[in-house]
Amino acid sequence: MSERAASVTPTEADEQDDDQEQITDSAAPDAAADTGPAETTDSESAPVTTGAEAVIRALENAGVEYAFGVQGGAIMPVYDALYDSEIYHVTMAHEQGAAHAADAYGIVSGEPGICLATSGPGATNLVTGIADADMDSDPMVALTGQVPTEFVGNDAFQETDTTGVTTPVTKDNTFASDSDRVGTDVSEAFALAREGRPGPTLVDLPKDITNGETDAEPDAPTTPDTYQVQERADPEIVAEAAERIENSARPALLLGGGVIKGEASEVCREFAIEHEIPVVTTMPGLGAFPEDHELSMEMAGMHGTGYANMAITHCDTLIAVGTRFDDRLTGGIETFAPDAEVIHVDIDPAEISKNIHADYPLVGDADTAVSQLAEAVDSSPEATKWRAQCQQWKSDYSMAYDAPDDAPVQPEFVVEALDEATSDEAIVTTGVGQHQMWACQYWTFTEPRTWVSSHGLGAMGYGLPSAIGARLAADDDQEVICVDGDGSFLMTLQGLSVAVREELDITVAVLNNEYIGMVRQWQDAFFEGRHAASDYGWMPEFDKLAEAFGAQGFRIDDYDEVADTIEAAVDYDGPSVIDVHIDPEANVYPMVPSGGDNGQFALTEDQL
């Protein structure tokens, strides 16, 4: 260990020496006299003296409690300032994990999650997590170290054009260029990550800027003047949309992730229930509406329920809230809700008519705009027949699966057992693949901010680090369950070291099929069963691996072990891993092939 700490490359060491000189140069005696020891002990009120302190002060002012990251040369001044802060820093095993943890923290808490990394590889390792947050509009602030300004552009050691690399995957990013201004840069980044349509922001912090002397306290977190958000939807269009709803024979509500981010679950629930409108959700919208309610048609899209896809395909009025009509939801555009007039509520004007034309564009905050709609709708649509039809579809296309005793454990059964063993408030995180889809389909979500997944980016490896972030954002009595795949878990399982060290109570259930299962399923359906690079053939024993990390390991091979093992793992106070050996040939249905017609979902492989 000490060997590693000592093995600083010559360049890095030189650079540090340089910086040290700078500090001694600039830390003039009068500055030292200003801040006596009595004042410095009180970190709340001690004035900032460096750019790095201003960065941390900006986070403190914004109410930040946790940060996730990995140390390194260029970010060291920021960490040094963090050392004196109340902000609790979780040292992650990999920067990708830091970004995913921050992302999940943002999803569960609604406040931007913070991740830190050094320049070069630290920053590039963050990129997957930043891209994920960008696709899913999750609030996150990434702070990256950068080589000193005078080296920028010279291919210096660990120099990467981080703002260049991250421009396409951030809501906004900034290259800090002034120690007096850097605190405010961070405040602004925080505000931008949270306000309007949330998303990841990044501030790149050259070492001379963070080391530089300043007494400039950061401004409060506010967005720049150029950034404007429309809260209220156009009342005229609201009135027209309301009239359309009143006269609709086959209305459906489609609730997306924006409903949860916009804290509009409550008003959407009330609206749906008052007017008895069937509710479909997108994948990020899971939890926006209770799936155990009669009106719930659950999730639509590629692996959505048959009844959700029937409802969306046959409705005549689609009230879509906070969704960007991703292709995994719509299938082929030509056949997406082709008879429906679309009422589209979104806070981002650019989402209106981007993929699906909005007949009633309602740009505004989800909570505000749906409240406006609720107020404007005077009478419920007469849709008794339609509701009966929806119920009929629920039984016609039931999600009931076959699970004979003599067959290997079916994954759906495991997901249901996990759901059963935990409270309604339990948080579910996932990797990407079949297991993720089974989690969507067979967990009954009832509460917002309990579903944490990589939707738009589909990043394997998301599950464990996001469980770490979710754990720190969640209430103590909320269980955190990571439903992972064997392949996805392998990508980031070094995060177990963090979970053990930080004593985090999380349960990882690895649905182990020793396959890149989702790929194997597609190969069987579309590539004549040629399993190119999808059959792992060998997997480590995850329960033993967990034990080696200091976590509690469990293993399930048979049905009769499922309930008891899950109970023991969930009860264990600390990180536990259940290696669940499921039927390797199990497939996810229903399925709408890419670009297909949602109404023509396949229920079996031969229907594809």
Binding site: T163, G164, T167, P168, K171, D172, F175, L192, P224, D225, T226, Y227, Q228, G306, M310, T313, H314, F325, I333, E334, T335, F336, P338, D339, A340, E341, D348, P349, A350, I352, S353, K354, N355, I356, H357, V363, D396, Y397, S398, M399, A400, Y401, D402, P404, A407, E585, A586, N587, Y589, P590, D597, G599, Q600, F601, A602, L603, T604, E605, Q607
Partner: protein, 221 residues
Amino acid sequence: MKRGLDGPAPEERPTPAGRRNKQGIRIDPEVEATHQPRRTVISALVEHEPGVLSDVSGLFSRRQFNIESLTVGPTDDAELARITLVVEETDPGIDQVKKQLRKLVPVISVRELAPDAMRRELALIKVDAERPDQVAAVADMYGATTVDSSPETATFEVTGARQKIDAAIDTFSQFGIREISRTGMTALARGTDETTGPSPADASVSAADEANQYTETADDD
């Protein structure tokens, strides 16, 4: 064991009659309406700070917007710069361009210019100077000014609408063109009509109704 789920097979299910076109607009399947791309000029007022230009150009490549030219230059306010873009897109595409541009944090306002807006390009044209009289006559015809001359070459500056410059280049080519450098288009709205809306709230972003075609009149005022 049985794999998959029960339920009516795809062919047993009712299917709706409607269809949408590629832009997600409901259409009559009999008469599929598609939008034709058109060329238009978009002017954006932006904060004069590093990175804005790459933000804007990156946006265009990332979202596959068809862009013909992009020019950027300072304004009377040192803090602000103006970017003029010529794009060729369908109406919904142009709407997206405007909205996506407006979403960039350093972008203050975005406006699609009316067809009668003043539009100018500049070209430097270096030709062989073997027939100086004839070259001078052509230059005169296009109001080109001489920027440089040497025993073998003559270089002219032409400004005007794109068509005029195309025509000038075409005519000069008889003397043998050595090199050409052209700017993209820069433009301003006419008269009291402002290229930049007074407020950053820029109503014109949502006003997709400016469906007025930008016709390629070689207006030279």
